[in-house]
Symmetry: C2
Subunit: 372 residues, 2 copies
């Protein structure tokens, strides 16, 4: 293998596929990026065996690719990315000099690093699963940000560490829950598909970071894997096995109380009240009546906080309800509406947060019992 290529496009692809690489992988070849030079194209692959990213760089005016000898190599992701980032020249030459010893050089910089033979890289099938649909990348990014934070970070119930995506005719539901709160986003789809998969939160995080312009992207699923095709890039991930809990019956539909409030005001009031923590956990109390809406919190050790929400309007009898300040802030931020509507059915019943006149995103929070 021996080729010359522009440094910046090369670096971009290396950084992109390196996102899937885990530097501490027990499989040595997986700590590297596989680079293949073939047919006037460079192919890049990075994988931690859960997530795999594949991309390519074709010869064009900007890329200035010149393949002198075709071939493939695996180079340690950490080293190849840093070397290409730091070399101060416009063109980079990469050449296998002896076995897996590879030379990477610019005009005055000359590196030789020990790689791995390309045939030692695990076989990864990047074939496209049968059910596929297009989605606007901004909408997918928004959907991920509105749900992913509600996934669980505990491995005791693996299925809760992912976002469940269920397609039922013309609607796709994205649901995440850690069993104390739930986030649900509904989006429309024309393709009339039917599937239900649970995607690891980590995969969605990577996808979200890789999308940076308002392209359309393609999602393709079967019961084993999911693929996101974004321009020249495929991000592919295993799915989380196991039945996802039936969440729709957890979401109440009848409410006796309703609070309409400015999201920014509520957020800052909860944020301030959250300064009073008990053992690092911040529980806030929302006290609502027709003429006064207050947020308060108490910590035996530190003291107490009380916040008056002047611009809030409340319908219903007096209600006091306590909940995690952090969960509430996460949910309010995810909704990203100026005015939000919170619907309650009792002081120990889950409550629902939505944007005013915005039904596609729903946030549910379970209250907590307090004794003061």
């Amino acid at each position: 293998m021996n080729f010359k290529v522009s440094r910046v496009p090369l670096l971009n692809e290396l950084l992109k596929v390196s996102r899937a690489v885990s530097p501490k992988s027990p499989v040595p070849t997986l700590t590297g990026i596989k680079i293949e030079a073939k047919d006037d194209t460079l192919y890049f692959t990075g994988s931690d065996s859960d997530i795999s990213i594949h991309s390519y760089l074709k010869k064009d005016e900007k890329v200035k690719l010149e393949i002198i000898e075709e071939g493939a190599i695996i180079l340690g992701a950490k080293y190849i990315c840093e070397i290409v980032r730091k070399i101060d020249d416009e063109l980079i030459t990469i050449e296998i000099v002896d076995g897996a010893l590879t030379r990477i050089c610019g005009e005055t910089s000359d590196f030789k690093i020990n790689g791995f033979a390309a045939h030692d890289y695990p076989m990864i099938d990047f074939g496209k699963p049968e059910q596929s649909f297009n989605i606007d990348s901004d909408l997918l990014k928004l959907t991920i940000s509105q749900t992913i934070f509600a996934t669980s970070d505990k491995e005791t119930r693996p299925v809760l560490t992912g976002v469940n995506v269920k397609c039922d005719k013309n609607l796709i539901y994205f649901v995440a829950t850690d069993s104390y709160r739930l986030a649900k986003k509904t989006i429309e789809n024309k393709d009339n598909l039917s599937f239900a998969v649970t995607i690891p939160a980590k995969t969605l995080n990577e996808v979200s970071k890789t999308i940076d312009d308002n392209d359309t992207l393609e999602m393709a699923v079967n019961d084993k894997k999911i693929q996101f095709v974004i321009g020249n890039t495929i991000i592919q991930s295993r799915l989380i096995e196991g039945a996802y809990p039936e969440t729709s019956r957890l979401i109440p539909t009848n409410f006796d109380y309703e609070l309409t409030v400015n999201a920014h005001d509520l957020l800052s009031a909860i944020d301030r009240a959250s300064l009073m923590k008990n053992d690092g956990i911040n529980i806030v109390k929302l006290s609502m009546s027709a003429d006064k809406v207050e947020i308060s919190s108490k910590s035996q050790e530190v003291g107490s906080a009380n916040e008056i929400l002047n611009e809030a309007s409340f319908n219903g009898n007096r209600l006091d309800i306590s909940f995690s300040g952090k969960y509430a802030c996460d949910a309010i931020r995810a909704i990203s509406s100026d005015i939000i509507k919170i619907s309650f059915s009792g002081d120990m019943k889950p409550f629902i947060i939505k944007g005013l006149e915005e039904e596609s995103c729903l946030q549910l929070i379970l209250p907590v019992r307090t004794y003061n």
Copy 2:
């Protein structure tokens, strides 16, 4: 105690003195900030008993201070800073309500936090030491940045964890060394003083962060403490006891080799070559002859790097010398000259880095022995 004051100036003073506060101090009152309201002025004190910071806020148009009742209190630094930072109003009221229970409130926010009685705060003497001189704050900031990185972070020889400041008639020498490298800055002074003290690196760090405009500041020392008076603020610190090593005889004065090189080029070449690490330590080799100057490095595990410095000029016979890439980068960055001059007296002798035509800052590095 009961006063009203503008939020922003209050926050600035709280943040400033909180820099000296260690949240994990074994003395509970030292986890707090002492606030005293007296004679139309607020006084603030924070201390970890090594460093103490004292400042004040006088009544004026911007500060809008109104003292309703004089008094003093100690409030947990973490809480009072966060509360004042997050309250959304222009004016803040702070009032002792019961014993040490203190109310902090804005228009809609109302906090009550448990403080400590002010008389429990340790007595700190902020009296000014006898030997004092003025120094331009930009020059002090530069001097700190040019020396502090060379202090030791190991407590085995406490005296090396500080910067030694020695005044001999009209010159003040700032010296730091961890015994593998040394940084020395010489500045002029008119006051004809004579002292030698070792200031903890941590103190200088805090001083450097507190200076933000080009004021003149006052430094005052005796054999127990050092004071920096910056506008309304006193930063005071204990000194490190023990004899500082006599460093002047370590600095060679006769040289057989001299390299003149663009600082940026050398820095990036060393930076790139440093990617090849052995057990996390990056040793680079500088090979110089009349017609070629190169930086190289080798790692058994990773590979090798070679960098050619085209714009360098070297006087002397061929010389190969190995040293820590990190130490060299620290030293070159500290000098902040476009062109630097490196003077050698042999492959195992300490070498000197200076800016071209800039004698006030000297960096010394000890070479290391390599076997390849």
